[in-house]
Symmetry: C2
Subunit: 620 residues, 2 copies
């Protein structure tokens, strides 16, 4: 029951330059790599410095058990660990346990996420993908080895609970291993991504995933999502208003109500609200606007798509709908064909893929159970880990005859997603968490949008929108408010048509932020193009550029945009904040104020000031 596999694993195989595969035990049939639909971008590897293959494979230990499969990897107590997908509660994982459960409601800092990725990245300059579609747990140096306990007992006092966070952090990084606990499996493939730098390791992961994603200027503009009950007429009236107010919006999103049925979905236009979909989309196009359609994957049992899916569905429903098996070619083909022939021809540019995470921790079950069985052989747990990515791929397939460059939205993602043109979002609405998402997502090949809905006041609205325009995709999601939030931030009053006192001022500030975004798009296009070919994320944590500066490790409220900008968002109530300036000289956007690097400074950033710094480029 507890036999140890030989501590020297199977000889590592270099699968692409600087990426080594290590097979331990008998891996499962369905894993992110085994069912992958992207291919590595081999050309990108040429631009990277050669890898030093100094990963200590001899310290890799594996062990099967009744519970699944256990792996132990070497860990240095001075190592900073990042990654694991979208993490809204913290970014630095050394000294922490992380349980990667797909959860639409990640309220606690445990690793739960809409988009967990079993990939971690070390400041030492390597990354590891644990190729599993299970809710895997990682323990990053959390437990001291038994033989060191006496020594520890003699030399240290455990800090009390109210010690500073730095001390508490240090006190928790006490082990010399990374323990990985994989349920159900009896083996696993590890993929080791070498540096030399942390950034190079991440680039290798992103290139292995298919490279980054390039986006069009329109796709990088601001999206406005209309009230869920809107008709074509309502939307066009809103668009006229937005134009009149000179708001730089480049795409419109429709929420569930565009369909004849939703929860579960018919995937058919509601012709009462939208009598002529193609004409409606053309009207938008004439105004320079692209259309994004909300949906989730759960199919109304009486609609045409359900009939076409036949038996290519799970044996359990979700929100009373059928769950297509997107891991089976038949299920995928039917699902893609329906989108390609029924929805895309009307001119739809992209989709928003809701509820593809796992909602069963909410009061009512909003997803299929973990024990669901799919014809492809996947179970519910595996499908939860893979649905986000495979749903994105299905959408991409459906749009394959349209010009590239569109940008979709998805509420879940996973491993090997770098090449998918989707931004993650969340129904949780904590601005501070949303900022952290911008820091964490880029460490595992993901993009994240901190969407704006209603707000507690104008200040909150503007602070949220500042963060949004400094993100991959600014979204104003007005799905439950009939008027734009700058008209009234309070949702109930907004729907009652009551203008707030400072709405003119709010409107002016919103207009300026959207203009800024538009002016920023060419720079972003470049950063995304660079992402596409080199795997270097356009939005990223400071630690990726300065891994050997430990001051960057704990920073989860600042992030880089491309190579020249650093965003330092503020939240409601803040007028000044502490900013860590990494190496270099930094100029506050639109001012002459210069800040020297390698120091923390308190900086006043009034509401009218965009919290953005430009790095001085040293002469070549």
């Amino acid at each position: 029951m507890m036999n140890e596999i030989d501590s020297t694993p199977q000889r590592p195989v270099e699968v692409v330059p600087g990426v080594f595969k290590v097979t331990l035990g008998h891996p499962e049939r369905i894993t992110p790599v085994s069912v992958r639909r992207s291919t590595p971008l081999l050309s990108g590897f040429n631009s990277l410095p050669p890898a030093r293959n100094d990963y200590n494979y001899s310290k890799v230990i594996a062990r099967p058990s009744d519970r699944g499969f256990h792996v132990s990897l070497p860990f240095d107590r001075d190592e900073g660990i990042f990654g694991l997908g979208l993490q809204l509660k913290s970014c630095l994982h050394s000294g922490r346990k992380r349980h990667l459960r797909v959860n639409a409601d990640p309220l606690v800092d445990t690793g739960d996420s809409h988009a967990p990725v079993p990939f971690f990245l070390s400041t030492v300059g390597y990354g590891v993908l644990v190729d599993t579609a299970r809710y895997v747990s990682f323990y990053f140096g959390t437990h001291a080895p038994l033989h060191e306990l006496s020594h520890r007992a003699r030399v240290k006092h455990r800090p009390v609970a109210d010690a500073g966070s730095e001390a508490l952090y240090r006190s928790s990084v006490i082990g010399d291993t990374i323990a990985i606990d994989i349920p159900a499996a009896q083996g696993v493939d590890l993929y080791v991504f070498l540096g030399p730098t942390m950034m190079n390791a991440l680039q290798r992961y992103n290139l292995f995933s298919g490279g980054g994603v390039a986006l069009s200027a329109t796709a990088l503009g601001t999206q406005y999502r209309c009230h869920a009950d809107s008709s074509a007429e309502d939307v066009l009236a809103l668009v006229t208003l937005l134009k009149h107010q000179e708001m730089d919006i480049s795409s419109i999103g429709l929420e569930p109500g565009w369909q004849t049925h939703f929860y579960p979905n018919s995937f058919e236009w509601n012709l009462q609200r939208f009598p002529k979909p193609s004409e409606f989309v053309s009207s938008l196009a004439r105004r320079g606007l692209e259309l994004n359609l909300w949906e989730n994957a759960f199919v109304h049992p009486d609609c045409q798509l359900a009939a076409e899916l036949g038996t290519s569905i799970g044996d359990q429903p979700a929100t009373d709908g059928l769950v297509p098996d997107l891991l089976s070619s038949q299920g995928r083909d039917v699902f893609v064909r329906h989108h390609r022939t029924k929805l895309v021809p009307s001119g739809v540019r992209s989709f928003k893929l809701d509820e593809c995470d796992n909602g069963d921790f909410l009061p009512a079950a909003w997803s299929f159970p973990e024990h669901t069985r799919f014809p492809s052989g996947a179970d519910g747990e595996q499908m939860h880990c893979l649905l986000g990515v495979h749903y994105q791929h299905a959408t991409k397939d459906a749009l394959r005859e349209t010009p590239p460059g569109w940008f979709g939205l998805a509420r879940s993602s996973g491993a090997l997603a770098a090449s998918l043109p989707f931004a993650l979002y969340s129904d949780l609405y904590d601005h501070r968490d949303f900022i952290r998402g911008l820091v964490s997502a880029g460490c595992s090949g993901l993009l994240w949008t901190p969407e704006v809905r209603d707000a507690t006041c104008t200040e909150d609205l503007i602070r949220r929108l500042q963060t949004a325009v400094l993100s991959p995709l600014p979204v104003i999601n007005a799905w439950y408010i009939r008027n734009p939030p700058w008209f009234q931030t309070d949702a109930a009053k907004n729907n009652d048509g009551i203008t707030m006192a400072d709405s003119q001022e709010a409107m002016t500030q919103v207009r300026e932020l959207l203009r800024f975004r538009k002016s920023f798009v060419p720079y972003l296009e470049q950063a995304f193009n660079h992402y596409r070919t080199t795997g270097k994320p356009p939005f990223r944590a400071l630690v990726l550029d300065w891994p050997s500066d430990p001051s960057t490790w704990q920073i989860d409220d600042q992030y880089l945009i491309g190579d020249r900008f650093m965003a330092t968002p503020l939240t409601e109530g803040q007028i000044r904040r502490t900013i860590y300036f990494p190496e270099g000289r930094w100029t506050l956007y639109g001012t002459e104020s210069v800040f020297e690097g390698r120091q923390s400074t308190s900086v006043k950033l009034p509401l009218a000031q965009l919290p953005l710094f430009q790095r001085e480029v040293s002469p070549p």
Copy 2:
């Protein structure tokens, strides 16, 4: 991989009257029943009405998979499901997924708990114990059967998110099965506890567990826990103060500092703080006070107990200590012997067993990992599920030569715990959650104390203490405040010796509440004696007495105490609250105000009024 076991399970076997065992597949070796240390109280079954064996075994379906073992049980949409151990976030489980993970930090309503119990109880009049030491998931009617989806789609509109809680509840109870998802296992034993009533089913469960527990008058009195740094002198000075203030305290608790080392623990008296432990305990005894000692099970590597344990420990540490294997006879014997010979002789009356749940979701890892291996063959997950109960048993063994009737504290418990004289507690400190604990715990053979620490103000203190004196064990836990909370509720000011303005008033109200408690003890003794022999819990949810009155189902802030009292606690800020009066006539404690049953009424309950109602006993 997905073969279905024959849907007719092995023939149910009646193991004690009205309790049927059903074996499905190949159960694991280590389960709550297989390692149980209590024996059923057979005499108790005679007092129960005969069981009707009408459980529909033909609808029990089982299926092994790579992930573990899956069981489906019949479910009626009108069934109310309760139990699953201590649940601080909600009590009614129909229409919900519950994942029973042992977690010291259960912040979200998912089933996580210090003391989950894989036992549920139905209003229809039966209960089921799923005999597993795994983090099992239950789905209680959460998913409609696939063949009913079209019908559902035609007849109903799914309520929107802002529908009333009742509507949302009804909308989520849509399936006709209870799905049970057990990780790792390839089989499981179910124990079906028959009624006829819901209460009878619970009684059978408690009697099967060993019967309830009887407690002495002193044990049922109020406990005061001293500051963690206290010396013998400090404690005796405090005791003098308490006597002087006429506070009815019956036991004193010492927190970690009584030992030479803690986190991890030496289990040896700190002779600098407590030079003569026996004399100290005798001094307390002369003042009518019993002593409770804090500890956790994690052993300092350099102490005598560590040497004695030898290899009877887990292969991973917890809080830098060794984890004794209390499931192995050697580990247990050594651990018990140390307590029995080194600590009990000094006169210690009971223990407080901290951290025996699972703390690894906290920032630093406070427990051993799930993949820990123990010599007994248990893994970390199983040990987390069993440690609470087996640690309690070990303490009970250590105290076996002392008079019965003591009452310990434990931060974790599990299945078959009814006969263990321990109250559960939590470091979370939400008063509303604490009240819910009093409602939920009794549905699975557990006792719970809503301990009082500091408070936001006098009102908060008094409201918390009202709940505490209406609980199995009132505890004032001053482990981080040097003066009693009625001197100053603010912790920092308390330690700075700053008296609050209304401390005299607070002291008077505390004194009265402690007096009330003392006067209430004889009634409680009776209720506990009844629990001991019949398994009828002394503190319990209203639904247990009125399962066919659905108004009782959602009530999670009122509970019965014995057969004659109902507590209706209030929290800070409340001066009146809605109370549901079940069948009968109810008199507000200490007044002439009478309320008729089967109605909800808003009742004003000022701070000076104990929120307690007495039921009129109908003439025989």
